[in-house]
């Protein structure tokens, strides 16, 4: 390895970058702007569910019951419907997500001491949201049922309603939400976005670097030069790793200062693991670049193979424990999840290398392995 040769090629890369100032500026503005836009917009909270009620009974009791839903912040009450047939097209069009149908004899049944029937129709197209909506509805119904039983007990045993209600709750759960006290998605999303954005942006920027020289033919200058493969790859990667490192710090600052996410752990650990992570993602871009022949293919492949896993196989959304074995394998093989663990450990949990060493080690192995793969795939000879 010859440091002067590496510096020469790096200098050439740098000149190229400076002569395309818009790309360079966008390389910094894009992560910044994405962080703000997604950080403020993304949420997994299921609230304001559009709801309609079909009140076939039209009694005082059924109206009281309906108000449990109308008053809930989880539902956005769109109005009463005359019957279920009116609900079908609205559910089909996605204008309503839930319809509560109160049966005709609702009040009469309750007064007679019989169970009263309520039917819930849900738009099943979004299973995640259906599960949560079902939970909200069941909780409201459970509360209503408990009050009704308490009323029955107080009448039967001649005790005050409040006492009866207390009797029905012999123990409670004291919930403690760790690391994210308000269970606000806001705290966990912006830090994870650092991983998300630095997965595909560096990979894309690097993916054009070699294939561009192949398309324009300047790669033959490299082929005929005394430059070794390692020197060439290092010189090509270094400027993009440097850009990504600046972005790493900028995104961290945004997470802490703008989104007010608590950062409890060691910045050194966050940054060192982040450096390994961006080396890995930059190398993914390089790997695509040495593999394909056209810039179009490089752009498309590098973006899809980084953007999709950044979204799906990284613990940005669902945790690895709930995935099926294939999904788990992909998640463990890619760098995203390992860095998310370091991010969560240093941001919300305050744990150090004593807990996070497996993640740090994995990132190091991935960065090294990906660089080695680039080395194996890049040849200074045109394939016949």
């Amino acid at each position: 390895m010859n440091a002067r040769r590496i510096l020469t090629v790096m200098h050439k890369e740098w000149r190229e970058m400076v002569r395309d100032p818009l790309s360079l500026v966008m390389g910094f503005v894009l992560p910044f702007a994405l962080m703000l836009l997604i950080g403020f917009g993304m949420t997994f909270d299921v609230e304001n569910i559009p709801l309609a009620i079909v009140d076939r009974d039209g009694s005082a009791a059924s109206r009281d019951y309906a108000y449990r839903f109308i008053g809930s912040r989880y539902f956005d009450f769109k109005g009463y419907l005359a019957d279920e047939r009116k609900a079908a097209p609205l559910l089909m069009d996605g204008k309503l997500r839930a319809v509560i149908v109160i049966a005709e004899r609702f009040e009469r049944d309750l007064l007679a001491g019989r169970p009263a029937a309520v039917q819930v129709l849900l738009d099943g197209a979004f299973p995640d949201r259906v599960r949560i909506t079902k939970g909200y509805i069941s909780a409201i119904n459970a509360a209503a049922t408990r009050e009704l039983i308490a009323g029955y007990l107080s009448r039967r045993d001649g005790i005050p309603a409040a006492q009866a209600n207390e009797l029905l709750q012999p123990f409670g759960l004291e919930m403690r939400y760790l690391y994210n006290q308000g269970v606000k998605s806001d705290w966990s999303i912006p830090p994870k976005l650092i991983m998300f954005i630095l997965f595909f942006v560096p990979a894309f920027m690097t993916s054009l670097r070699v294939v561009r020289e192949k398309e324009t033919g300047t790669i033959f200058n490299i082929y005929t030069s005394p430059l070794t493969r390692v020197e060439f790859l290092l010189a090509k990667l270094a400027p993009y790793v440097a850009i990504a490192l600046v972005n790493l710090v900028v995104l961290w600052l945004l997470a802490v200062l703008v989104f007010r996410a608590p950062f409890k752990g060691s910045f050194t650990l966050f940054f060192a693991a982040g450096a390994l992570y961006v080396i890995a993602t930059t190398c993914i871009g390089m790997l695509v670049s040495v593999f394909v022949r056209t810039q179009i293919a490089a752009m498309l492949i590098s973006l899809v193979i980084t953007f999709v896993p950044a979204l799906q196989y990284s613990e940005l959304e669902e945790p690895v424990t709930s995935m099926d074995p294939e999904g788990q394998l992909i998640t463990y093989l890619l760098p995203g999840m390992h860095y998310v663990r370091v991010i969560m450990g240093t941001f919300l949990k305050n744990v150090g290398l004593e807990v996070l060493w497996p993640e740090a080690l994995t990132l190091a192995v991935q960065a090294g392995g990906l660089f080695f793969a680039c080395y194996l795939l890049f040849h200074k000879r045109v394939k016949a």
């Binding site: 818009l22 790309s23 894009l30 403020f40 917009g41 993304m42 949420t43 304001n48 956005d76 097209p89 559910l91 089909m92 069009d93 996605g94 019989r114 169970p115 009263a116 309520v118 039917q119 819930v120 849900l122 738009d123 099943g124 197209a125 979004f126 299973p127 259906v130 599960r131 939970g135 119904n141 459970a142 009704l148 009323g151 045993d157 029905l168 012999p170 123990f171 409670g172 004291e174 403690r176 760790l178 690391y179 994210n180 705290w187 966990s188 894309f204 054009l208 056209t294 810039q295 293919a297 498309l300 959304e317 669902e318 424990t321 709930s322 995935m323 999904g327 919300l348 744990v351 807990v355």
Partner: protein
């Protein structure tokens, strides 16, 4: 004089055809790219369809039972798979924090000493549950389910003490709910995610391919050749959009007939011709966005970065990842201009809910208007940039 006009129209049409074939050939000759298309519309959809979603599955549960009574064991045993996996018991008080820190447990439950006695004597008591909410959506599910399980158990104990049996409960004034999820009765995640992934692939490929197709011509200078040819800007740009639209419509056909039906046994409810027509309209709109990115930039690197800035928010705020109801108000307004949000609406309505054009026409109209505006701007910019 109808003849010259007719022959002009015919020539215009032939030129458009030739250019479209040229675009398609360019794509077809790129072998890695072709392989990638096949991957994107088959393997990727199969894998994406297998996502678990925000479902509570295998949450690691650690129980510290200081009471060790029948009641406490009963409570702990109600935390069952597939939601919770019993992952350990006991340990000193500070061990809980360490377990949660390391991710060795997601839920730690502490049952106090004298739990059973308190229940028997009717004294109020509490069980402490600590939940790791670094993943807020799943953490919230774990907490909600825990509360449901505890409430059910508590009610059972209370009713037994009041001398009410489970059978008698059916002759008490209670609310009996019957929940039915239409269109996907078993909440099969795969139906949701596979369609979502297909739509995401259509978006990614149309935006990126059309960006790349134009940016490359600009970078190589072949666009100058096109400009001096007898082609109008419309005849240069429209074939690129048409070619990409054809590619993605073919791709969705492969997905629908080879994956959604056979692999995920999705009951394709609505009209498939309607769905493919809407896909073509969306392909036009979203390729138009790609052309826009390429017309306002100078090379592929700039165009690609701008395309990222377009497709990332378009995908994340389409309704698949962030529920539209939960979005902040300012975002709601922006999402009206997100063509993928309209395409998603129409796609789920047609494929899953069996809706027809009478219900989804508004989404289709919004997509077409957005497409016409974006494409019109692209043609206008394209002409201007060389003047």
């Amino acid at each position: 004089m109808i003849r010259p006009a007719a022959s002009r129209a015919l020539r215009w049409w032939r030129q458009l055809q030739v250019m479209t074939v040229k675009e398609l050939l360019q794509v077809a000759r790129d072998t890695p790219l072709m392989l990638f298309f096949v991957f994107a519309f088959t393997v990727q959809i199969v894998m994406g369809g297998g996502r678990p979603g925000f479902e509570l599955r295998n949450a690691l549960l650690h129980v510290r039972d200081a009471d060790n009574s029948a009641a406490s064991r009963e409570l702990a045993s109600r935390f069952r798979p597939p939601y919770y996996v019993f992952h350990g018991a006991g340990g000193r008080p500070d061990a809980a924090t360490r377990l949660l820190d390391r991710g060795d447990a997601m839920v730690v439950m502490d049952i106090p000493e004298g739990f059973e006695r308190a229940l028997a004597q009717g004294r109020p008591t509490a069980v402490q549950v600590q939940v790791d909410t670094t993943n807020s959506a799943v953490g919230l599910l774990a907490a909600t389910y825990a509360q449901q399980i505890a409430a059910d158990y508590a009610t059972e104990i209370a009713l037994a003490r009041a001398g009410i049996t489970a059978g008698e409960l059916q002759s008490l004034p209670v609310i009996r709910e019957e929940q039915r999820a239409w269109f996907n009765p078993n909440q099969d995640n795969r139906w949701f995610f596979s369609v979502g992934d297909m739509v995401m692939m259509v978006t990614l490929l149309t935006i990126l391919l059309s960006t790349a197709a134009l940016a490359r011509e600009k970078e190589r200078g072949t666009v100058e050749q096109l400009l001096v040819s007898p082609l109008s800007p419309l005849q240069i740009l429209l074939p690129k959009v048409l070619a990409m639209t054809l590619v993605v419509v073919a791709g969705t056909m492969v997905s629908v007939f080879a994956v959604l039906g056979p692999v995920f046994s999705m009951p394709l409810q609505g009209s498939l011709p309607l769905f493919f027509t809407i896909t073509a309209i969306y392909g036009f709109t979203s390729s138009g966005l790609g052309l826009f990115a390429a017309t306002v930039t100078r090379n592929l690197s700039q165009a690609g970065l701008l395309a990222i800035f377009l497709f990332v928010p378009i995908i994340l705020f389409s309704g698949i990842h962030t529920p539209d109801e939960g979005m902040p108000g300012w975002l709601h307004t922006i999402v009206l201009f997100n063509p993928m949000a309209h395409y998603i609406d129409a796609t789920y309505s047609i494929l899953l809910r069996g809706a027809g054009l009478d219900l989804v026409w508004d989404s289709v109209l919004a997509m077409a208007l957005l497409g016409a505006a974006v494409f019109g701007f692209g043609v206008w910019r394209f002409r201007r940039q060389f003047e």
